[in-house]
């Protein structure tokens, strides 16, 4: 199973490559391993410090060896598995039998526990909601040491706080969720070039009515009238009559074997990449069958791609801007980025249809933007400026991506939801035994 690249001894890092002092213990026996541990982590695909332990308790549990399927009902699609099982493995085993996750993130190298903790969303958020909307039960170890089951009707507050709760409410040991029947293992894709950001937001809303999967890539380097030009991608599962009879071949996964130097993804190369990506779609519209891997997980094709950003790494900034704030708020955010000379290698745009099920779920109705930003000396100032724009619009940020947000910005964004989440933690973990580098930074947990 493709795992996490070995790190320098005594440090752990997030996908964005900023590291903390710490270690992890791997175990097949999560019940035993999670006793007294501050945090569980899976494949380490959260970008910032969400999966990193706090300074005062630097030993986290790595769940990836707890990877058994405990039940799968071929008639109903109900799945129960240990939390360290990866989506890669589930897809490998269940897709040939016609089952797929109801919601997938942009990489399959995530664990079930991580999908719950981040309440991940995907290209079908407008239609299917978050992963948490399809979770029916969790088995957890809570802070006082007890191991218990929770579901929407059993310990409902704990259940709701755990969806998107970043692992701060308890160690997730087992996940039960509803898998989805797919008519074929192929995707029918439609894509179209879009001229600017306002048109893009309208195009996403229009496409949502016709397509279960939608997403857009935007060129973050263009300014002025063409700011936010890009390519809209829509998809649906192909019907058996239009799909090839064969199962799609998995592509070989190349691996980026070395760290590229920090200048490799400088402004010039980012501009060149974005220009190329845009004009590669030289036809205004295109339509056809594609492999699900190519559609859902294009970046998985190059393992360890985060090494392209060099030793300083990068940060992914993802926020959601409410529809009420109007289409101009997305334009303002992009202007903050470009006016500061920032360039995002890969910028993704997507509309969200509904509020997530968890107390701290990221999605809410609006437009989400995800920017990949190489870490430079001015990154903190850039993230501050982006956060102020998001605050003005009444939006919020995605904790699974964040590494640079200041506590006061986070508290202001979450002023309405945070008290309820912290109340659940007060009830289950008053002394904050369960915490992470992220919760120390943003929630003010004891180090």
């Amino acid at each position: 199973m493709p795992g996490v690249r070995r790190k320098a001894r005594g440090t752990l890092e997030g996908w964005g490559r900023q590291s903390v002092a710490g270690s992890e213990v791997r175990s097949e026996d999560l019940v035993r391993a999670t006793r007294d541990a501050p945090l569980s982590r899976g494949l380490g695909r959260s970008y910032g410090d969400a999966s990193l332990p706090p300074p005062g308790a630097p030993r986290a549990v790595n769940t990836t060896r707890a990877d058994r399927i405990l039940a799968f009902d071929e008639r109903t699609g109900r799945l129960r598995a240990e939390a360290g099982l990866s989506l890669f493995e589930l897809n490998r085993v269940l897709m040939p039998r016609g089952w797929f996750t109801p919601v997938t993130p942009g990489t399959q190298f995530v664990t079930l526990g991580g999908m719950v903790a981040a309440d991940i969303h995907g290209k079908n958020q407008h239609a299917a909601g978050d992963f948490g909307d399809h979770v029916t039960a969790l088995r957890m170890r809570v802070a006082d040491g007890r191991v218990l089951e929770c579901r929407p009707t059993l310990e409902p507050e704990l259940f709701a706080a755990t969806l998107g709760g970043m692992g701060l409410t308890g160690h997730i040991l087992e996940v039960e969720a509803q898998w989805e029947r797919i008519p074929s293992p192929w995707i029918h894709q439609y894509s179209r070039r879009i001229d600017d950001l306002d048109a893009f937001q309208q195009a996403l809303v229009d496409a949502a009515a016709d397509w279960p999967f939608t997403v857009g890539w935007i060129d973050s380097t263009t300014r002025g009238a063409h700011l936010g030009r890009g390519v809209l991608m829509c998809g649906r599962w192909a019907e058996p009559s239009e799909a090839p009879a064969r199962f799609p071949r998995s592509t070989l996964r190349a691996r980026l074997p070395v760290d590229l130097p920090g200048w490799a993804l400088g402004r010039t190369s980012v501009r060149a990449f974005n220009e190329l990506y845009y004009w590669r779609h030289w036809r205004r519209e295109a339509e056809g069958l594609v492999r699900p891997e190519a559609f859902f997980y294009p970046l998985d094709a190059l393992r360890d791609w985060n090494r392209a950003y060099g030793p300083r790494g990068f940060t992914q900034y993802q926020c959601v801007l409410p529809h009420e704030a109007g289409p101009s708020s997305a334009r303002r955010l992009m202007e903050v980025l470009t006016s500061r000379g920032g360039a995002s290698f890969l910028t993704v745009i997507k509309d969200f249809g509904r509020e997530g099920p968890g107390l701290l779920s990221f999605p809410r109705p609006g437009i989400t933007l995800a920017l990949d930003i190489p870490v430079r000396d001015d990154t903190q100032a850039l993230v501050d400026a982006l956060n102020e724009t998001v605050l003005d619009a009444g939006g919020r940020i995605y904790l699974a991506k964040d590494a640079f947000t200041r506590r006061e910005h986070f508290r202001a964004m979450e002023a309405e939801r945070l008290p309820a989440f912290e109340a659940v933690r007060d009830a289950w973990d008053p002394s904050r035994r369960l915490r992470s580098a992220l919760s120390v930074r943003l929630f003010g947990d004891p180090a």
Binding site: E28, D29, R65, V93
Partner: protein, 248 residues
């Protein structure tokens, strides 16, 4: 093929049992903890094992139970092609320091890894021969290849086991019993968690794939991960005076 598995719940055994399940083999799991057996059995069901995967309690520390556990497996496979393969991955591991400090642990390790594993293999051998032959695949270790200062005691238990398996293969191959001795090098599992990994350390998945090929071919000895075959070929030939000086 139909496989009885002692040690399928964890580590390399888990990986090997999964690869067997995914190609549709029949499986019957033996082990100490009933709930662990049950969880692994359901995992293997979900991954495609032929028929529901059965289980029976069997503790390597309790030889009195070996016969009944194996008979339960034989019964389960009756009418479904009969018993074909027995795999043993279970065993006790502890570091040299821990074993030197704790005679009770040492006694248990020696008894489980050698005496009781041999007793289990004898019980399995009898049933395989009764079924007209088959394959007995047992996990020993590269630690038994030479006397080494870092694994004196554990290595001795595995050396004894390897010699037994070699003799067994010579004695019964003509009657259709193929004995496969697996000699894993360092593999990253719960058993080795916390130890410093040497070069050529492997992951359970690729090791299991190699072992499965050896079982299918009836290869008498398999080293895994693959580079350990070359490493051990050198180490087996080192003069004693040199072995005394090496630090591993």
């Amino acid at each position: 093929m139909n496989v009885v598995f002692l040690g399928a719940t964890r580590g390399m055994g888990r990986a090997l049992a999964r690869q067997m399940a995914e190609r549709g083999d029949g499986l019957f799991l033996l082990g100490r903890a009933a709930d662990e057996l049950e969880r692994s059995a359901r995992d293997l069901d979900a991954r495609g094992a032929a028929g529901p995967v059965g289980t029976a309690r069997c503790d390597l520390e309790v030889p009195e139970g070996f016969g009944a556990a194996l008979d339960a497996a034989v019964d389960a496979f009756a009418g479904a092609g009969g018993l074909g393969v027995v795999v043993v991955t279970a065993g006790v591991f502890a570091t040299q320091d821990a074993l030197e400090d704790d005679p009770a642990l040492l006694e248990r390790m020696l008894r489980v890894n050698f005496a009781n594993t041999v007793l289990f293999c004898e019980a399995a051998r009898a049933r395989l021969l009764e079924a007209g032959g088959g394959t007995l695949c047992v996990f020993s270790s590269v630690a038994g290849e030479r006397g080494r200062r870092t694994v004196v005691l554990y290595g001795a238990s595995k050396a004894g086991l390897s010699r037994y398996l070699e003799g067994l293969d010579h004695r019964y191959r003509g009657r259709g019993l193929r004995v496969v001795t697996v000699k894993p090098g360092f593999v990253r599992t719960d058993m080795t968690e916390g130890l410093d990994a040497p070069p050529f350390a492997g992951e359970p998945g690729p090791v299991a794939a190699r072992v499965l090929r050896a079982i299918d071919r009836g290869a008498p000895v398999v080293y895994a991960p693959a580079p350990w075959a070359a490493v051990m070929a050198v180490i087996r030939r080192l003069p004693r005076a040199v072995m005394r000086r090496v630090r591993f």
